[in-house]
């Protein structure tokens, strides 16, 4: 595959065009990673401001109009809406698990059922989060068990 980089016309925005017969998963993942890598994800913890690597985030949670990124031990506030984070990171390993939460699948150790019909995700840092019934399907899709409707 040839790689051609051209300068856009003056005044035109930068654009990436992929010309191929059928884009494979590897190519799509690469392009999505590129888009996400360009996204600013700044975390605020008291007076501290930190650049967050999305791979370090265990889950995002919305609480009283504020959104927090839960890392291994620290919790940072992020200036994004939950739906924006979902749009940004769902092509990667993040999946909505309840109305107020998006979880990083790479941080799930294992899943277990609850008697209430929900699932419980045991995270690698020992935390447990609940996956609502409504979002189990999207998790199964991500895992390749079920197909997108």
């Amino acid at each position: 595959m040839r790689i051609i980089i051209e300068a856009p016309q003056p005044g035109d925005e930068d654009v990436v065009i992929v010309r191929c017969s059928s884009p494979d998963q590897r190519l799509i993942s690469m392009l999505l990673s590129f888009r996400t890598a360009n996204t600013e994800l700044t975390g605020y913890l008291d007076e501290k401001i930190a650049r967050l690597d999305y791979r370090d985030v265990y889950y995002f949670e919305a609480n009283e109009n504020r959104v927090f990124a839960y890392c291994n031990s620290d919790v940072y506030e992020v200036k994004y809406k939950l739906y924006e984070l979902e749009e940004l990171f769902s092509p990667l390993d993040f999946v909505r698990c309840s109305k107020s939460m998006i979880v990083n699948m790479e941080k799930i150790e294992y899943l277990s059922p609850l008697f209430s019909g929900k699932l419980e995700a045991h995270l690698k840092n020992g935390e447990k989060i609940v996956i609502s019934r409504q979002y189990v399907h999207s998790l199964k899709v991500k895992l390749g068990i079920e197909e997108v409707e």
Binding site: Y110, L119, L143
Partner: protein, 148 residues
């Protein structure tokens, strides 16, 4: 959301109706009563009516254990009241302290039955999901080994 509601409604309708049928079969055998054909329709209707609040409850995305417990408690109380109302409406038995206690036990049985069925189904699904998760991690480990 609407699709999820209808799926839950159908699942719980089937489970509750099966549990009510078991309970009715045990009761009729023990009491030696003959079953009228209308009772089958009454069982189906009672299954549908009790499945409705269950499907609604499952569509609610509760946050926190306390809220969940309150909702499930309310749901149990509601189902118990509906059962008593249906018993009276269909004339299955007179409402006495004993029949109320038996209904209470029957509701617990139906609760445990449907809960266990769904728990076992979910356990099967989570086993499959955990296998997929393990495969993902193994694949990732192999890729990391290759790149290093």
């Amino acid at each position: 959301m609407i699709k999820e509601f209808f799926i839950s409604l159908v699942h719980y309708f089937v489970d509750i109706t099966t549990a009510v049928l078991i309970a009715a079969a045990i009761y009729l055998t023990a009491s030696g009563q003959q079953m009228d054909s209308i009772i089958l329709w009454e069982i189906l209707l009672s299954g549908f009516i009790t499945a409705l609040p269950t499907a609604i409850l499952l569509c609610l995305d509760t946050k926190g254990v306390k809220t969940s417990l309150i909702l499930w408690g309310t749901h149990f109380f509601l189902i118990f009241c509906i059962t008593l109302l249906l018993l009276k409406m269909f004339g299955w038995c007179r409402i006495t302290p004993l029949s109320a206690l038996l209904s209470f036990l029957a509701v617990i049985f139906i609760y445990v039955f449907t809960g266990s069925v769904h728990y076992l189904i979910d356990r099967k699904h989570t086993t499959l999901m955990n296998q997929q998760l393990r495969k993902r991690y193994e694949k990732k480990d192999q890729t990391e080994k290759k790149t290093s």
